[in-house]
Symmetry: C2
Subunit: 199 residues, 2 copies
């Protein structure tokens, strides 16, 4: 980074690197991100790429943070207008399923894939993924509790069991979209979720 570059230019380059890294990590995994490949994709030097972050792990964490931001804006933020409880959850899961099937229709959910990639690799990236998953679970738990309190779901609902099964539906949708490229996956996921939220 030349000291002559403005703060805005530096931030724009950083964003461009993160966008490119996120696209690369979507197919290659976050561990498969290589500075060399990224430098080629961006027409930059390796030092130019890494200079914005310091090291590969810091780049991985920046990519993850960006993916979490995108998810928040794309999924829970669009469900804010729905009534608390099952309606808001149904909307959020609907948005998530749409999000997974977007683009070429087989991108799936980046965060879901990264969770599997890092399940056996302790360290800051795994911790950041765990934090993102915990934040989502808290969101779902709060809405499920609101649903129980308002009588939308039975009083004896095992909220943690419903969260476990909702997670499973998302994982199945992700696998079905990414791996099997099954065009019926979104409809199957919606049906499973509707049943869980009507229980």
């Amino acid at each position: 980074m030349s000291p002559r570059k403005s703060v805005a230019e530096t931030a724009a380059t950083r964003d461009r690197i993160i966008t490119s890294a996120l696209a690369l990590a979507t197919t290659e995994g976050l561990e498969g991100l290589t500075i060399g490949r990224l430098a080629v994709d961006l027409g930059m030097s390796k030092a130019g790429v890494i200079g914005h972050f310091g090291n590969k792990e810091a780049l991985q964490l920046a990519v993850l943070a960006s993916a979490v931001d995108r998810f928040r804006l794309r999924v829970p933020a669009r469900a804010v207008g729905a009534a608390p409880g099952t309606q808001r959850l149904a909307r959020a899961f609907d948005e998530w399923i749409d999000y997974m099937a977007e683009g070429e229709g087989h991108g799936g959910c980046f965060l879901t894939s990264v969770a599997t990639e890092f399940d056996g690799r302790p360290g800051p990236v795994r911790d950041a993924v765990l934090e993102a998953l915990a934040s989502w679970s808290t969101y779902v738990k709060d809405e499920l509790r609101a649903a129980v309190e308002s009588g939308q779901l039975p009083k004896d609902t095992d909220v943690d069991q419903v969260i476990f099964e909702l997670d499973g539906v998302i994982l199945a949708a992700n696998q079905s979209i990414q791996f099997h490229r099954d065009p019926r996956a979104p409809a199957r996921a919606r049906r499973a979720i509707a049943r869980l939220l009507a229980a």
Copy 2:
């Protein structure tokens, strides 16, 4: 491989390499398998390791085939004695959940993790994973059909929907065991499966 070695010795060494590679791939992923690391673990030369397979991809395929064999012996083979239909499926899923929670209790399912690892990497490994998943789906579908025909499940059961949701439960159990190390995961998975097979 020295030409003086017997066929049995060669096969034993090959098995030893595969066992070690499977253990390494369980934490590092199948793509994270490196011949160098494996050679160190086994006290062999890199050439000695790779000589048994030809290249890394052939080693990956051998590891995968070994994991599929272990799965078959551990899961469907133990359900053979159960009555066809929902009882056999319940037994098979029960064995699978036990299998996932074995060892240190957070190994999860190797094949499930590899499926996610290779969903975006076309090639022979991905094809082999797809074949293994398809073979499992066929097994489940046959038993679900037997269940419908014998009246254990309603005539209008959407068999593909049940398969999708059963897959989701296994994926959720795998994530919950491997990533969250949640000791309640096996019980949650069994409860979800019992509900799907009683529908």
